[in-house]
């Protein structure tokens, strides 16, 4: 019974999150640029996105005459479902995971590529040169950045020896069946907390996180990698012809995608549902703060902080050029992530044995 209750609450949360994230992004951008942001609708402008969504629902749903009508309709559906399919394998707490399959992280990598397919479908079906250019740029970018992201994930997977996200979470806290070492020298299996997280289990995994984070920014088409929808060059990129509810679906899918990649980062690098508080002698803080409901709180806090970081980066950095983007990926991130994979193997063989 609790399982169904949690499922419904989480689904509701993700739906409301996408709306609130748009509001939060506006508020944060306003704060960074010394403005006030939305203030009129509701207290602190909290109802601004709800108002926007109602506006979009009322708007005329225009399909361009020369567009490929079926694909034009299918694209937002594909993008939206692909992103929400991804949440199926995310563990929210020690007892709650929708689908505990033993290929969890591999499944998530496949989901990301399906989303790109939807973007290409949108771009091509619009029959607009800006939309098409935007979606081709998006593919070039996402296919390239999948490689460093996958290799950074592989560096983590090699230490845990499993693709199941629930087991990866288990091995980063006090519920672990294996022994956990803080940087390979201090056993923290019973202490848990922040010391047992992946990034503190080996020195190179923080770099793996940074590579994954950069690649995930590119996969979400976020600044500094937002050339697929660069306003000053391509009007609005792949969704330029979309109006009304279809545009709303694409827009919300982008924010849901940000949340999904942040969830993956939280699970792989920051302990997932594990508490950041360690057991300190008689203060067994980690024992108190581990459980079904605590787990949900921790993982959502971690994921939302990473979303905040993404928003912060968007309003701080200028956009990369296409060639700079590819140089960064192929000449910096990919060689570096190969070195990390090698280092993971060495660490597993010589330090943890």
């Amino acid at each position: 019974m609790a399982f169904y209750f949690i499922s419904i609450v989480l689904l509701g949360f993700i739906a409301v999150y996408a709306l609130m994230a748009v509001w939060a992004e506006r508020k944060i951008s306003a704060w960074i640029q010394d403005r006030v942001g939305p203030v009129v609708t509701g207290k602190y402008g909290l109802l601004q996105t709800f108002a926007d969504i109602f506006k979009m629902l009322q708007k005329e749903d225009i399909t361009p005459t020369l567009a490929d009508k079926k694909l034009f309709l299918a694209a937002p559906i594909l993008v939206f479902t692909a992103v929400f399919m991804g949440f199926a394998t995310i563990p929210f707490s020690p007892t709650y995971i929708s689908s505990s399959i033993n290929i969890g992280i591999f499944y998530l990598l496949a989901i990301v590529s399906i989303e790109v397919l939807g973007i290409l479908m949108a771009g091509w079906a619009s029959n607009n040169k800006y939309a098409l250019l935007g979606s081709i740029r998006s593919i070039a970018q996402i296919i390239s950045y999948e490689i460093p992201a996958a290799l950074a994930i592989l560096a983590v997977i090699m230490l845990f020896q499993t693709l199941n996200l629930q087991e990866i979470c288990m091995q980063q806290g006090i519920l672990s069946k294996q022994k956990i070492y803080f940087f390979g020298f201090w056993e923290v299996s019973k202490i848990g907390g922040v010391f047992a997280w992946t990034i503190f289990q080996a020195p190179h995994l923080f770099i793996a996180f940074i590579i994954y984070f950069i690649a995930s920014l590119a996969e979400c088409n976020r600044t500094p990698f937002d050339i697929p929808e660069a306003e000053s060059e391509l009007v609005a990129g792949f969704h330029v012809e979309y109006t009304g509810f279809k545009f709303g679906a694409l827009f919300l899918a982008e924010y849901a995608m940000m949340f999904l990649v942040s969830m993956i980062a939280a699970v792989l690098f920051f302990g997932g549902w594990n508490t950041p508080l360690p057991n300190l002698a008689s203060f067994a803080l980690a024992d108190y703060t581990t459980g079904t409901y605590w787990g949900i709180v921790w993982i959502l806090l971690k994921a939302l902080s990473l979303v905040l970081l993404q928003v912060w980066i968007r309003w701080t950095f200028p956009r990369y050029r296409m060639d700079q983007l590819m140089t960064l990926c192929w000449k910096v991130l990919i060689p570096l992530s190969f070195v990390l994979v090698l280092f993971s193997g060495i660490w597993k063989l010589f330090i943890l044995n």
Binding site: L71, I101, I103, M121, L132
Partner: protein
């Protein structure tokens, strides 16, 4: 109920495959191909090989995307104008292609009957460990050969594109 889902996937796979070969618009046929692969990976989940199902999806979606970009670059003009290839009659090379496809199909069916296991396959548990160990012990040589072939193709492609630039 499960049988019904199986038949839905099977129908989707065949319908999408037929649409992919019969439509005149290259982009639509590529999207139909994707639908076909999606249905086939659904069928693979039924065959209890979920790793292969996801690998199938991942490899082909990545591959299809590149094919699609080429398709767009080669056929944008043709699809913009309203006259999509109007030719109705079937020429000689299309007959030959049909013949080749039928021959391939017969061979596939023949070998399927020849080598189909008599006993149902049993699911042995977490399959990624088994696949990994099998790939690096029993099937190490084919695995390495395939990687070498891919590397050769990769280097050759880089060489060809560089020559065209000069």
């Amino acid at each position: 109920m499960i049988k019904l889902v199986f038949y839905v996937f099977a129908f989707l796979a065949i319908a999408a495959a037929l649409y992919a070969v019969s439509t005149k618009q290259i982009i639509r046929s590529v999207f139909a191909m994707f639908a076909c692969f999606f249905a086939i990976s659904g069928l693979l989940v039924f065959a209890k090989s979920d790793f292969i199902a996801i690998a199938h999806l991942m490899i082909y979606v990545g591959g299809i995307l590149v094919v699609m970009v080429f398709g767009i670059m080669l056929s944008q003009k043709a699809s913009l104008s309203n006259e999509v290839l109007q030719k109705k009659s079937i020429s000689l090379h299309q007959y030959l292609a049909l013949l080749a496809c039928l021959a391939l199909f017969v061979i596939l069916i023949y070998f399927f009957y020849l080598y189909a296991p008599n006993t149902p396959i049993h699911y042995v548990g977490s399959d990624i460990q088994i696949i990994g160990i099998a790939l690096l012990t029993k099937y190490l040589l084919p695995f390495e050969l395939v990687s070498l072939l891919l590397l050769a193709a990769f280097i050759f492609t880089a060489m060809v594109t560089r020559k065209n630039k000069n």
